[in-house]
Symmetry: C2
């Protein structure tokens, strides 16, 4: 089925891609204060583009948390499709830090095309996917002579990678300003290349720091080794106590509220084209996969809680040898939560267990850095039906339902405060290297994403 | 008893101190390649000073190891005291890295006097103590009209803090060039302020890195948590397996060859003025002391092997949150060895046990960075007698014999290849912050050290 908007989108593919590259050149790394100006610059560029394509009432919404200025939200709307549904398009313009830099084949903020992919930090997470929405809207405005087939609100945030407190507060405090029938989020991936996918569940998370302090100052390990506590050894003992060698988390009560997926959902997962050996070798690349016995890989990554350590700052990390017993050491530890669990209860269980695991001679402080609720969204609504139909046209295949192992806390906020369902229609691929060196976006999926959004919106407005 | 050399040393104290400050301003950090030029500069300054005071045949001796250029040795001699003993004066001009920089009250390479102390990296370890030897020799040359009471060789190294491979090779390959009757090393500390101390035993060490590799690249902990191995968790499990919560090392066979100190030596240690509570509160500053049950603090730090972790580089160590499962992580782990143990056997036991502790899903590589033998030196020789007599004159007290928890591998090399005993006569204090921020040297001890060396050499030549 042809459409003037689709034609416009196809004719303008090269320009759309160049615009995306320009956006990817801005190192909007939200967790690094040195990049605050870059992050704001990305917000301003997007606001200008939203105005240009025809959205109204475009503005930056400042955020604050803990008394400190955050990164702004970008808002725009077009609300003149009388009697038609309203979509809330969400995306984020901030990105993860690019380190380790020396593992990138081309620099993270110099977008580079190779083998049909666009390589850059943020290519798929989430600048590229967020930009699909804007380019679909531009195509619909152009072909519709300044009108859209449905009502649209767009909200973009710059703090997704640092916990999203700003947008969470805005949704909680101003739900009327985001009033819509459903939300559209493109920040997930397809289960396999060419397989249209909707994500219907996400894990939540708690991201923490455990700081251990021993001696009052760094000490020489020759002189004091045998009498002074070693904070890294203490952290190792704590971490080793949190999770056993089979991947089972040992925090008392941690699994108590875990909701087991339905037999039907588990059966559908078994039918997905999943090659565990390919996944192990090509995606993970480790000798064996790890995790809880008795659960499949998809269950372990979608429907089971996990615990990971991301880094252990402190002490001597340079080349060579320094014989120091550091006064303190920190571990960055996060847990993924699944439906049934809550960040508050899980954190309390965790903190109390960490304290009980702390050896004598050191003191421990456990800090929550950020958290997000796990969620499961419904599949029985017209928005999911429109999304499936749109992707059937674009891909020529039926859509599969999957869950995601990561967290998109805003989806829970939309559900809780706006009382609307979210359609998670993402176009990433499993090997897109999210949060890792050589992040990429398959360029064909950028274009298919734009067309899927166009067709979905035309169906809902038709 | 007065002496022209002592008079000269006393008159020149202010100049000696200024010269030491100039030496301390050179950041001769041997482990950091960026400071290679500084390290060489320190060697050249010392060679010039050795020539100026009257030593002969002064030269830099280049070192290489593993095909790479090392930091030079500095050599000088005066061998015209016919029939008198020959001393080999040893010291090192390299220093530890100064980090964490923000804990220094004044910058590490801007020597600053406060409360009778000189604060700088290397003040006591070992530039200040090494410089005592040169200033004692200068005083003896000046008062002796260009002659010394005994024969002297001076050898200084610039790699003590990185394993001392260069001097070890030189001693092994050219023992005839260092032929002497005994060695004098001032790189240890006094047991208490005003208590003259000779060190008669040192722990050895092995300094290692354990590198764990999991996935082939960094992965997103949301997408892969539950299936991908986590190298930090693996390291925590390994480290927690190496040492129990009571401080006992669990490596099979590790304690088999440990020589227990004699009942007489242990009894002498009990008579030392050691206040465990003061040590805990003022030196270590931790809630309790740690270490093996059933052994006193002095036994634990002098005569028991230990295991410490110095840092765990890898992963995300910045501020905030990054949800990465790092592809690899490293732990810097060292063990102190005591008489009876050998680095070779202990490393083999350790490596094999680390491998057995490695969980599935990751690969491990254990690297030896450097090592040193533990040693015990004799106390029944004329050099120790002369040192005791000299310090009795300077301090007005009898000398105590202690051991050191740290390592001075060269002392073992002198014993093995030159067949000579070493007198370890040091003037540091327990709170001098070796290898830590705010390293200092008590200025009075700098002067007392110079006088002790003068009087010791006059006794041996008298």
């Amino acid at each position: 089925m042809s459409s003037a908007a689709i034609d416009f989108a196809r004719q303008n593919q090269p320009r759309f891609l160049e615009e995306l590259k320009a956006l990817l050149r801005i190192p909007s790394i939200s967790t690094l204060p040195d990049h605050n100006a870059d992050t704001r610059h990305a917000a301003e560029i997007l606001a200008a583009e939203m105005k240009r394509i025809g959205l109204k009432n475009v503005r930056l919404i400042e955020t604050t948390h803990g008394g400190q200025a955050g990164h702004p939200l970008v808002y725009g709307e077009w609300l003149h499709a009388v009697g038609k549904p309203t979509v809330l398009c969400y995306g984020h313009y901030d990105v993860q830090p690019p380190d380790p830099l020396d593992e990138w084949l081309t620099p993270p903020f110099e977008p580079t095309e190779r083998n049909g992919n666009l390589y850059a930090r943020g290519a798929v997470d989430d600048k590229g996917q967020m930009y699909m929405h804007l380019k679909a809207l531009e195509s619909l405005f152009e072909s519709g002579k300044g009108k859209l087939p449905l009502n649209v609100r767009v909200i973009l945030e710059g703090e997704e990678e640092v916990g999203g407190e700003g947008i969470a507060a805005f949704v909680r405090e101003h739900p009327e300003e985001l009033k819509a029938d459903f939300a559209l989020v493109s920040d997930t991936e397809m289960f396999a290349p060419d397989l249209p996918t909707l994500c219907v569940g996400l894990r939540g998370m708690i991201y923490t720091e455990i700081e251990v302090r021993g001696a009052k100052t760094d000490l020489h390990s020759g002189m004091y080794g045998g009498a002074a506590p070693n904070p890294f050894v203490a952290l190792a003992q704590i971490i080793a106590g949190l999770k056993d060698r089979e991947g089972k988390i040992l925090i008392p009560g941690f699994y108590d509220d875990v909701e087991v997926p339905s037999a039907e959902e588990k059966a559908a997962w078994k039918r997905l084209p999943f090659d565990e050996e390919h996944y192990r070798e090509k995606e993970v690349g480790s000798p064996v996969l790890t995790g809880e016995a008795g659960h499949s890989v998809l269950e372990r990554t979608w429907a089971r809680p996990t615990l990971d350590v991301h880094g252990m700052p402190g002490g001597f990390t340079g080349a060579g040898a320094k014989t120091v017993i550091p006064a303190r050491a920190t571990a960055k530890v996060s847990m993924r939560l699944v439906p049934g669990m809550t960040p508050k209860k899980s954190f309390a269980q965790y903190m109390s267990f960490v304290e009980s695991l702390t050896p004598k001679g050191v003191t421990v402080e456990v800090r929550m850095i950020h958290s997000g609720d796990p969620i499961v969204v419904g599949t029985d609504n017209p928005y999911v039906t429109a999304a499936k139909g749109a992707m059937r046209e674009v891909f020529g295949k039926e859509t599969v339902f999957v869950r995601g192992g990561g967290s998109i806390p805003i989806v829970g906020d939309f559900e809780r405060h706006l009382k609307i369902p979210t359609v998670m229609m993402g176009f990433g691929l499993p090997d897109d290297n999210l949060h890792a060196p050589n992040e990429k976006f398959h360029i064909a999926n950028f274009y298919r994403g734009i067309e899927s959004v166009i067709r979905m919106f035309e169906r809902l407005g038709g």
